[in-house]
C-alpha cells in the first residue's frame, strides 16, 4: 500500500510538472500574434495569458473526462500498482519528448506527446486490449487531423470577410489599424480557450490516477476541486514563466502578420478550441493556432503556400504521437522488467535527460531552435506578395479609369491635331502671301 501512495504522489507531481511545461511551451500560442502585430506589450501579453489560462481551466471539464473516463477500458478491474507505474512511464515519455522537441525546435504538440506517452506505456506494459481505440480515434486522433484544417478554413473565410468589409476603393485610409484593439480581446480569448483544453488534460491524468488507485469512484466523472485548482495554478505559472523566452527572442524576425489578419486568425483559433472543448475533443492548441495562422495568410490577396515549409510542419505533427509512444514504451518496458526498481531507473534517466536538455538550452544562443513559437513560424508556410493583385471591383475601377483617361487623351490628341492643322494652314497662308508679295 505504501508503494501505491508513493506512486500516486509521484504521478501527481509529474503530471503537474507536465502541466507546467505545457504552459511554458504554449504561452507563445496565444500571444505570438498580438506581439507580432504590436497589439500588446510582451510583458502585458504574458500576464494576461497567465490569468486567462487560470480562468479557462475552470470553465469546462469535458476534455478532462475524455481522458479520465474514456481511453482506458474497465478501469476498476485493473491491477492498480502496475497501472500506476505505467501512467508514470507515460508521463516520463511525454515530458522527455516535449523537452527534446523544444531543444531541437521541431514542431510538436504537448497534448499529443501526452496521449502518445500514455498509449505507448499501456500497450507495452499491459495489453493491447486495455485501450479503448474507438475513443482514442474519435476524440484524439481524428480531432488532431481535422481541427487544424477546420481552424484554417475558418480563419481563411474570416480574414476574407474582415478585409472585404473594410476595403476602400477611393484610396482613403481604411482604418484596419483598429483591429489592433480587437486583438487584445481575441488573444485573450485564445488564452482562455487554451485553459479549457490544455489544463484539462493534466486534470484528466490525475483523475485517472485517483480512480485507478481507488481514491475516487469510477462513476464520479468530475475531477476533484483541488485537482482543478492545482492544474489551473500550475499552467498559469508555467505560462507566466514561459514569457521570458518570448521577450528574449522578440527581435528574431517573425512572419509579417497584419492586425486584421491576426484578429481573424485568433478569433477562429479561439472559436475552434472552445467549441471542441465543449464536446470533449482533446485538441492540440499549437496545431489549431498554426492552422489558423496559415489559413489567414492564405486569406490575404496574392498569397501562396510554401509547400516545403508546410510539409515540414505536418511531418512534425504526425511524428509526435508515435515518437512519444516509443519513448514511453521503452520506459514501461524497463518497469515491466525490473519491477519497482524500474521506476527508480526511469526516474533517474528522465531527470538526467531533462537536466541535460535544460542545460543545453541555456548554453545556446537564441536560434531557430528555441525561437519564439511554432505558431508564428508556421506563418512562413504562406508567401504573401508585397503588392497584391487587385480585386474584381478594383479591376473594374481601374478599367473604367483607363477608359476615361484614354477618352481624355483621344480628345486632347484630336484637339492638338486640329491645332497643328490650323497652324499649318496659317503658315501656308502666310507663306503664300509672302510669295505673292515677293513676286510683286
Amino acid at each position: 500500500m505504501e508503494t501505491a501512495v508513493l506512486l500516486v504522489v509521484l504521478v501527481i507531481a509529474l503530471s503537474l510538472f507536465f502541466d507546467f511545461t505545457n504552459g511554458f511551451h504554449d504561452t507563445a500560442n496565444a500571444m505570438a500574434t498580438p506581439i507580432a502585430t504590436g497589439a500588446l506589450k510582451p510583458k502585458v501579453a504574458v500576464l494576461i495569458a497567465a490569468c486567462l489560462n487560470l480562468v479557462g481551466a475552470f470553465l469546462s471539464t469535458e476534455v478532462s473526462q475524455t481522458i479520465s473516463h474514456g481511453i482506458i477500458n474497465n478501469e476498476e478491474a485493473i491491477n492498480s500498482d502496475l497501472f500506476l507505474s505505467l501512467i508514470f512511464a507515460g508521463l516520463i515519455g511525454a515530458i522527455t519528448w516535449n523537452m527534446l522537441t523544444w531543444l531541437l525546435g521541431l514542431p510538436s504538440s504537448s497534448s499529443h506527446a501526452l496521449f502518445g506517452g500514455l498509449i505507448g506505456a499501456v500497450i507495452v506494459g499491459y495489453s493491447w486490449t486495455a485501450i479503448n481505440y474507438g475513443v482514442v480515434l474519435s476524440k484524439v486522433i481524428l480531432p488532431a487531423v481535422i481541427s487544424p484544417i477546420t481552424a484554417g478554413v475558418i480563419a481563411f473565410l474570416a480574414t476574407r470577410l474582415a478585409y472585404a468589409l473594410t476595403r476602400r476603393y477611393d484610396g482613403k485610409p481604411d482604418g484596419r489599424d483598429g483591429f489592433r484593439w480587437g486583438q487584445i480581446f481575441s488573444s485573450s480569448l485564445v488564452a482562455l480557450a487554451h485553459g479549457t483544453n490544455d489544463a484539462q488534460k493534466t486534470m484528466g491524468v490525475i483523475t485517472l490516477t485517483l480512480v485507478i488507485a481507488g481514491w475516487q469512484s469510477a462513476s464520479d466523472t468530475e475531477p476533484q476541486t483541488w485537482v482543478i485548482f492545482a492544474c489551473a495554478a500550475t499552467i498559469a505559472l508555467g505560462t507566466y514563466v514561459g514569457g521570458w523566452r518570448i521577450i528574449r527572442t522578440l527581435g528574431k524576425g517573425l512572419t509579417e502578420i497584419k492586425p486584421a489578419q491576426g484578429f481573424a486568425a485568433e478569433t477562429s483559433t479561439a472559436a475552434t478550441i472552445l467549441s471542441s472543448s465543449a464536446l470533449g475533443f482533446a485538441l492540440s492548441t499549437t496545431q489549431v493556432a498554426s492552422g489558423s495562422v496559415i489559413g489567414s495568410g492564405l486569406g490575404r490577396r496574392g498569397s501562396k503556400v510554401r509547400w516545403r515549409t508546410a510539409g515540414r510542419i505536418g511531418v512534425g505533427w504526425l511524428l509526435t504521437l508515435p515518437a512519444s509512444a516509443t519513448v514511453s514504451g521503452l520506459a514501461a518496458l524497463i518497469i515491466v522488467w525490473l519491477g519497482p526498481w524500474g521506476i527508480a531507473v526511469d526516474t533517474v534517466l528522465a531527470v538526467a535527460t531533462v537536466l541535460f536538455i535544460y542545460l543545453r538550452s541555456r548554453r545556446n544562443a537564441v536560434t531557430a531552435a528555441n525561437a519564439m513559437s511554432e505558431v508564428a513560424d508556421s506563418g512562413l508556410a504562406v508567401k504573401v506578395k508585397k503588392n497584391p493583385p487587385p480585386t474584381r471591383r478594383q479591376r473594374a475601377i481601374m478599367r473604367e479609369e483607363a477608359r476615361r483617361r484614354a477618352a481624355v487623351e483621344a480628345r486632347e490628341r484630336a484637339k492638338r491635331k486640329a491645332q497643328t492643322k490650323a497652324e499649318a494652314q496659317a503658315n501656308k497662308n502666310s507663306g503664300d502671301r509672302s510669295d505673292s508679295e515677293a513676286k510683286k
Partner: protein, 110 residues
C-alpha cells in the same frame, strides 16, 4: 471491437466555430468600417516598436494619422450622418462582444 465515430460532432464543431468566428470578425469589421465612415479613423500604433514589427514605423504612423485627419475633414457626410455612423460602430462593437459572451455562456452552461 466496434469503432463508433461520431462524424456529426466534427461537423457540429466546424459549423459552430465558423458561425462564431464570422459573427465576431464580421461585427468588428463593420464597426471599424463605420468608425471610418463616421470620421474617426482608428490609427493604433503598435504597443512597442520592436525589430519584429516591420509593418509600421513611428514615422509611418504619423503619416497615417495625418492622412486620416485629412480624409475625415474632406468627408462629404453631414454631421448627422457621421453621428449615425459612429453610433452604428459602437453598436456593432457591442454586438461583437455579445457574440463572444454568448458563446462562452453556452459552453459554461453545457
Amino acid at each position: 471491437m466496434t469503432l463508433t465515430i461520431d462524424w456529426i460532432s466534427f461537423l457540429e464543431v466546424f459549423v459552430v466555430a465558423l458561425i462564431g468566428a464570422l459573427l465576431v470578425v464580421g461585427f468588428y469589421a463593420i464597426a471599424v468600417r463605420l468608425l471610418v465612415r463616421g470620421g474617426k479613423v482608428p490609427v493604433v500604433a503598435p504597443a512597442e516598436f520592436t525589430d519584429a514589427i516591420a509593418i509600421i514605423s513611428e514615422k509611418e504612423r504619423a503619416k497615417a494619422a495625418k492622412a486620416a485627419a485629412k480624409a475625415a475633414k474632406k468627408s462629404p457626410l453631414t454631421d448627422g450622418q457621421k453621428l449615425v455612423a459612429r453610433v452604428g460602430a459602437y453598436i456593432s462593437f457591442g454586438l461583437c462582444g455579445l457574440a463572444v459572451l454568448g458563446g462562452l455562456i453556452l459552453i459554461v452552461i453545457q
